[in-house]
Amino acid sequence: MTRALALLALIAAMLAVPVAAQDQLPPAPYAYRQLEDPAQEQKAQDLMETLRCLKCQSQSIADSDASMAGDMRNQVRLRIKAGEEPEAIRAWLVERYGEYVSYKPELTTLTWPLFAAPLVLLLLALLLLRKRFIRRLPEGEE
């Protein structure tokens, strides 16, 4: 029984090989092209490194060859070129895909513990270590 199941799994795995699900279109204009202005390109690059590729497992759109990531890069560069601020573009994407699309968590009612954590850890350390230290060692110790 187990073997039959295993064989089925194997066949399924063979079938699951992606059937060339790849589009034939050339990449969008700014998917693999940098902006002419280096300062703008830097802004775009910094932003793209913090946006999540929605088709990939866990990659930013700046590190992905997925065509949708290319289209998102194109979108980001075009908007930067048109003078939009990076954070406005991030907000535009978050409006469409939710917080998931941004690797930079915003402070919300659901994410505040992330930002409170360093403080809590610091306080915890102080609390635990309070009595570990001594101001003065008694004379003649050791």
């Binding site: 088709k55 949708m68 994407l93």
Partner: protein, 186 residues
Amino acid sequence: MSGTEKKPGKRWAIWLPLVLFGVFFVLVMNGLVRPANRDIESAMVGKMLPEFTLPAGVDERPGLATDDFRQGEVRLLNVFASWCVPCAAEAPQLDELARAGVPIDGVAIRDRTQDIARFLARYGNPFATIGKDDISEVQLGIGSSGVPETFVIDGTGTIRYQHIGPIMERDVQIILSEVKKAQTPL
């Protein structure tokens, strides 16, 4: 020497690691029991379609623009591509929806005219209009993260419902009821 030995105390702190592990356990247990929904839902449901105009994807159907969705009629917006295998799988269900009288508009993602034509010839053409979206502009605009996806748009151009992945037989009724719901404006 024993003068500086610290006496045991602060028992609560000793249990802190176990408590934290308990929290971790509950968290991942929950994650295992209800496996995370891998779909990325659009945050645009309930909002207006963005402005767009797409050229025709094939000769025998017109392209589409946002205005086409503001004519007081509930329509389906189907994001598809000829290179997408599940899109072929949902073709019969799209046909069924079209026969039920729901107008369907297609947005072909990163596709070539000849490929779309071949795809339609093979799997049928339930679409009223087909727009060609070469840079995923509309897809990004409506918060769609893959193909195929189907959106129910009400008569004012508001996105009312999103279906992610191919429409299977069991989904047809759900979509029809969402279409019905969308007939009463928000």
